[in-house]
C-alpha cells in the first residue's frame, strides 16, 4: 500500500517503541549526530541539507539549508526555535512525531544547532500540546542523560540546550515572527520583515525557525547523504512528506509519501476512498489556508491525477502548504464549509492590521447573513470585493490566506451561493 519500503519520518510505524531512547539508539538513533560531531564541520552539515534540497515543511517550502546559511557569522548567541504550534486546520503530523518519534526531531534540532552554532533551542508548542509535551520533556530528559544534549555533547566541544514552551493557543503564533513575540512574553502579533529572524530573531539575535517535520528530516539526510534523500520525491521537491488526511475518507490519518506521489494514491490507497460511494466534491490541500480544489464532477479534469509536490499543486491553483488534506464529499454545503473557515480566520485574526482585523469580521458577517437565509443580491460580489480589498494589503499571510476559501468556493460553487441570495 505504501510507496515507501520504510518510513523516513514516521519510523515508529516500522520500529515499535522507537520513542524509547534505547530503541531509538539501537536502530541508528543519534548516529547522525555522532557522525556530524566527529566527522563533519558545521558548514558541511548545512551543505548536505542544502544538497538534499530539504524544503521547509511548515508550509512555505523554503529550502532549509539556505535558511540556515543566512545566520550571520560572529553574532552570538544564535537561537533555534522549533515551530510546534501546528494549528492549521486538518494538520496533525507534528503531534505524531512529538508523541511517537521524538528523538528523531531532537536529533534534528541538535544537528541544526551544530550547523548554525546555536547555544539553545526553544520548542514552541501550541497550548493544546500540554499532553504531548509531557512525553517530549521525558524524551529530552533521556537525551540529556545519555549525553546527546547539554554540556560537551558526546564528549565534543559542542554544548547545547533545548527548552520547551507552550503558547496560549493562538493560530497566529504559528507565524514565525508572531511566535517569536509570544516566546518573548509579548502579545502574539507578527513583526515586520525585513529584518528576517535569521538576522534579528528571538531577543533580537540571529534565529533559525524551523518546523518540527523539517528538522525530523535532518538526521537521515546527515546519516545517509543527499543522494540517498533525493531518491524520494521530485527534483524540485525532494524527500518524503507527511500528508494529513481527514474529512470524508474511510481511513483518515497521517501518511508518509514521497513528494510527487499522486493524489489518487493518497485518497484511494491510503485513505480508502470516499465512503459510501459518494462523489468527491472538493479538497482542501493545505487546511484553510489555500484555495479549494474542486472534485472531478465540479472542476475541469480529474483532480485525483494531481501530483503531490509543491510545484504541481501550485500549478493546479492551490498550495501544498503543510499538506493537510481535508476531503469533502458531495453532501457538503460549500457555503457552510467556507463560512466555517471564515469564522476560523475571524476568530484567529490577531488584530494588528486593519484589513485582516476588520475584513475577516466583515466576511463572517456576510456569511452569517447568507446562512440565515437573509442574503441579499450582490452579497456574493461583495464577498469577492472584500477579498480583493484584503488581498495584498494585509500585514502577514494569515489575512492574505483568509480570502482563499472565500474566493475559491465562490469560483467553483457559485451556484450554491446564489441559491442563498434572495431575489
Amino acid at each position: 500500500m505504501s510507496l515507501l519500503a520504510e518510513h523516513v519520518l514516521l519510523r515508529h510505524r516500522d520500529v515499535p517503541h522507537i520513542r524509547d531512547i534505547n530503541v531509538y539508539t539501537n536502530h541508528g538513533g543519534y548516529d547522525a549526530l555522532r557522525k556530524a560531531l566527529s566527522d563533519m564541520r558545521p558548514e558541511e552539515v548545512t551543505d548536505v541539507v542544502k544538497a538534499a534540497g530539504l524544503r521547509g515543511r511548515g508550509g512555505a517550502g523554503f529550502p532549509a539549508g539556505v535558511k540556515w546559511s543566512f545566520i550571520p557569522a560572529g553574532v552570538k548567541p544564535v537561537y533555534i526555535v522549533v515551530n510546534a504550534d501546528e494549528s492549521e486546520p486538518g494538520t496533525f503530523k507534528d503531534r505524531e512525531i512529538i508523541e511517537a518519534n521524538p528523538h528523531q526531531m531532537i536529533e534534528g534540532i541538535a544537528l541544526c544547532a551544530y550547523a548554525v552554532g546555536a547555544q539553545a533551542a526553544y520548542v514552541y508548542g501550541r497550548g493544546e500540546f500540554k499532553g504531548p509535551f509531557v512525553g517530549l520533556q521525558q524524551a529530552l530528559d533521556d537525551a540529556y542523560e545519555k549525553g546527546f544534549l547539554g554540556r560537551n555533547i558526546l564528549n565534543s566541544d559542542f554544548s547545547f540546550d533545548i527548552y520547551t514552551h507552550l503558547g496560549a493557543g493562538a493560530y497566529i503564533c504559528g507565524e514565525e515572527t508572531a511566535l517569536l513575540e509570544s516566546l518573548e512574553g509579548k502579545l502574539g502579533q507578527p513583526r515586520n520583515r525585513p529584518p528576517f529572524p535569521a538576522q534579528v530573531g528571538l531577543y533580537n539575535k540571529p534565529t533559525v525557525v524551523n518546523n518540527v517535520e523539517t528538522l525530523t528530516n535532518v538526521p537521515p539526510i546527515v546519516l545517509h547523504g543527499a543522494q540517498w534523500y533525493r531518491q524520494f520525491g521530485t527534483d524540485k521537491s525532494p524527500g518524503t512528506k507527511i500528508f494529513c488526511l481527514s474529512g470524508h475518507v474511510a481511513r483518515p490519518g497521517n501518511y508518509e509519501l514521497p513528494l510527487g506521489a499522486p493524489l489518487r494514491h493518497l485518497i484511494e490507497e491510503c485513505g480508502g476512498g470516499v465512503p459510501g460511494g459518494r462523489a468527491l466534491k472538493a479538497i482542501l490541500p493545505a487546511g484553510a489556508s489555500a484555495p479549494i480544489l474542486p472534485g472531478p464532477g465540479w472542476g475541469t479534469g480529474d483532480i485525483l491525477d494531481l501530483s503531490l509536490d509543491y510545484e504541481s499543486v501550485q500549478a493546479a491553483g492551490s498550495m501544498l502548504g503543510s499538506a493537510s488534506f481535508i476531503v469533502m464529499d458531495e453532501t457538503v454545503d460549500m457555503v457552510w464549509a467556507a463560512s466555517k473557515m471564515a469564522h476560523f480566520f475571524k476568530h484567529e485574526s490577531c488584530g494588528k492590521c486593519s484589513p485582516c482585523r476588520e475584513g475577516t469580521y466583515w466576511v463572517e458577517d456576510v456569511y452569517h447573513r447568507l446562512r440565515d437565509g437573509s442574503g441579499r443580491p450582490g452579497d456574493v460580489d461583495l464577498l469577492l470585493n472584500i477579498a480583493d480589498q484584503m488581498d495584498g494589503n494585509c500585514f502577514c499571510l494569515l489575512g492574505e490566506f483568509s480570502v482563499c476559501p472565500v474566493r475559491s468556493s465562490i469560483q467553483h460553487f457559485r451556484d450554491e451561493y446564489e441559491a442563498l441570495v434572495k431575489g
Binding site: A170, L187, N192, P355, E358, T360, Y361, D365, M390, F395
Partner: protein, 889 residues
Amino acid sequence: MTVTLTIDGRQATVPKGTLIVEAAKQVGIEIPVFCYHPKLEPVGMCRMCLVTVGTPLVNRATGQSQLDADGLPIIRWFPKPQTACTMSVSEGMVVITDSQEVAADRKAILEFLLTSHPLDCPVCDKGGECPLQDLTYRHGPGVSRFDYDSKHHSAKRYPLGDLIVLDRERCILCARCTRFQSEIAQDPVLAIENRGRDARIVSYSNPVFDSHYSGNTTDICPVGALTSRDFRFHARAWELTNIPSLCNHCGVGCNTVLSTRRGQIARIMPRQNETVNEVWICDKGRFGHHFNSSPYRLTMPLIRRDGELVEASWDDALQHVASRLTSIIEAHGSDSIGGIAGACLPNEDLYLFQKFLREVIGTHNVDHRVGLSATFEDDTVYAVGVGTGTDLGRVGRDTAFLVIGSDLDQEAPILYLRVAGAARHGATLITAGGRPTKLDKQSNHSLRYRYGTATHLLLGMIHVILEANLTGNETVPHRVNGLNELRANVADWAPERVAEITGVPPDEIRAAARAFGEAKNGIVLYGPEGLGWGNGTQGTSWEAGSPLRQAVANLVTLTGFIGRPNNGVIAVLPHANSRGAADLGVVPDRLPGYVPAERPGLNAQEMLGGGVRALLVAGADPLAGVTLADELEFLVVQELFLTQTAQQADVILPAAALAERDGTFTNLERWVQRFDPGLPVPGQARPDWTIIRQLAVLLGADWAYATVGGVLAEMAQAIPLYRGMSYEQLSQPVSLSRRMSHYIYAGMSFQAEMREGMQWPALAEDGSAKLELDWLDPPAPPAEGDGFTLVAPRVLYDGGTLLGQAEILGTRLVQPHIALSSADAAALGVLDGQGLQVSANGQSISLPARVDGLVPQGVVAIPRNLKGAPAESLLGEGRIFSRVKVVKG
C-alpha cells in the same frame, strides 16, 4: 550619504535610511497614515500608507542597473503594495502614490476601519481636526457597505486612567499610544489585550495609566478614542481661540497653546519646538492650568484695617504702600526695606522688581531663593552653560551625558524624555545619585553615592580624566587658567579614596569617567540632590552648593565640553523662570548679568529673620509655616491667591496669572521665550510689572514703561547677556492655524511656525574669554552615627500653590509620607503605610511609611513642597540634609 528616488515622477534626494513617507513629504506628496508617527518606531499596522514600489533591476556582476530598449532602467515592481512608513528609500527606487490602484487600497483600508467605527463625529472631540475624518473625506468611500446593525460594540467611556478616557468604539488599534508609552515615555503601562476585533487598549499599572506623560497619547491618537477627562465633551475644536503660551510649571519652558473659549482655558496643548519640547508636554503642564479659573483668585486690592483685610481701590492701596515705604525709609534708611520675588515671575517683572529695590528704594536687599528656589541655585551656566544651538533631541552616539543629583522624570519631565531619547539614539548616559531614579533604566553607568558626596565623586572623575589625559587638548591649554593647580589639588582624590567616601566602587568611577571623557561632546545636568552637607551638618544650599558647582564647571571646562553646541552644563533649577531670576540679579550679591554687587544686601533668610522693617513679596510664599519677625512692620504681597504669606500682609495686591498677560521666561537652556495673553484678568488683578511700575512712579521715579516690550528693550540695552533681544523678534506672529499636513503625522500638537525664542550665549562661546579652574575643598560628610540622613527630593505633583487648585490632579498629588528602605523598615518593625515619628531640630512629625525600594539603607526621604511642608519644617528653610531620628509610632 544621500539617495535619489522618484515619487510620482518627482525626484527626491534624501539621506540614506529615510522612510518613503518622509521622502514623499519632502517633495510635497502627502501619503496618508494612522499608525505612523515620526517620533515612534514604524510598525506598518494600519496599512493606510500602502504604495506601489519598484527598484531598478541590477546586474549582479556589474552592479549597474539594467536598461531597457529605450535606455531606461528596468524597474522590478514589488508584487504587493508596500507600506511607505516601514520601507526605507534606495537608489533609483520608483514610488507611485497617485495611481488608481493606490487610491483603491486607501479607500479599502478606510472602509475597513469605518466598519467598526461609531461615526459619532457630531459629538466627538476630535471632530474637525481628526485624521480619520479628514482622510476619509479625502480618500475614503462616501458610503459604507457594512451592515450598520452588525457593528461591533464596545465600551464608550472606559477610564484608562485618572486623566484619560478611552472610547473603545472609536479606537482603530494603531498602537500609537502603547508605543509612545513604551518608546518615548519609558512607562510601558499601556498594552493591547485580546485579539482580532476584540483587541483593546488596557492599562494594568497601579495606579492605572501611571505615567507623567499620559496626556500626550490624546494628542497623537489619530481618532477620538483617547480624550482627556477635562476637555472631553467641553468644546468643539473650531470654537477655540488658540494663543501661543508657555508652561509655567518647571524650568523646561515647554511651548504650549492655550485653547480658550468664553474666557476660560478649555485645554492646553503642546506647541512644537524641536529644541525645547518637540511635540510633547507633561501632565502637570497639561492639567495643572485649572488654578486660572479658581474661585479663590484674588480680584481686588486688600488693605489691613483694624486687623482685618478689607477691599480697597488700586489708588488707595498703592498710595498706602508708597506712603508707608516712604516713612520707613525716612525713619530707618533704604536698607530697612527688602523684596522677595518668586522665580515663577516673568523676566520683565523680575528685572523691574530688583531695579525698583536697587534704584528706587536704594538697597540690595532682594532675593528669590525661598521655597524650592532656596534648595538649589546655579551660576555656572553663565560661563559654561550648554552652547547656543544645543538640541538634545538630535544628539546621539558621540555625546555623553552625566546626570548627577537630579531626578529628571520628577523635576523636569520633558528633559527626561529628551535625555532618555538621546540614550535610545546611542548617547552614553551616566547617572549618579543618592537613590535610583527612572533614568537609571536607560543609563550605561549608574553610580550610587552616599548623599552629600556627589562633589567627591566628581573630583574622582576629574582625577581619572586628568590621569588618562582625556582633557580637551584643543581648547584647554589656551583658554584655561589654573590647570596645574587643579591637577595638584585633585591628585589627592584617586578613585580608591573617593570610593571610601562616596561608596561608589573605584572601577565604576574609572569606567564612568572614561566614558565621559572619551566622548566627543559632553553635557552635565546637575540638580539639588548632588549638593554637599555644607559647613557642619546643615549647610544652606548656596554654601553647600559652591564646591559642587565648581566641580561641575571644572569637569566640563577641562574636558573641553564648553562653548560649542551640545556641550556644557544645564542646572536643573525648579521654577519656570529660575534661570531668569539668576540672570537678572534677583539675589542680594549680584546685579543683572552676573555682575557682582559692590555692597551685597540681605538674603531672603536674613530679611525674613528680622533684617528689614518692610518687605515686598511678589509671587512667592516665604512665610508658609513661618511667623512674622517682630521687626517687620509692613508687608506687601502681590499674589494670585491668599497664601499663608498673603494672610499676614498689610496690603495685598492681586496679580494677573501668566495666561492673562504677556512676558518672557528664560528656560534651563537659556532660551528666552515669549508668551501671549489669552484670558481676561479676574476682577481688578494686574500684571506684577505694572504694579511695580506704579509704585516706582508714586515714589518719584520717572518710569515710563508702557508695555512689557519696553521693559525688555531696556534689559537688552542694560544687560549684555540679553543684548540683541527685542520683543519684536520674540513676538513674530505665530500661525496657529490647523494644518492637516502636520496633524495627521505629528498629532494634535500645534505646528512650530516662527517664534523659537532667543538663547543668550555662555561666556565660553566667546573664544577669547579665559576660563578659571578654581578649587574649592569639598565639605566632608558628617560621620555616620545614630539615626538617618533625611533628604527631601522634588516631586512633580507636589503641594504647590498652583497645583493644589487643579482638582483633576488631586489623586496624583503626593501625600506627605516618609520613604525608607525595606531593610530599615524591617529593623524598625514598620510596614508600608504604618506611622513613623521623625525628629530633628526640635521638631517631631508623624508620617506614614512608604517602603518602595527607591531609597537606600540609612536614608529616609520626605518629598519637598508637600502640603504642610513636613520636610521643610524638619530641615529648616534652604537646608538640604539633616540627621534625623526615626522611631515607630
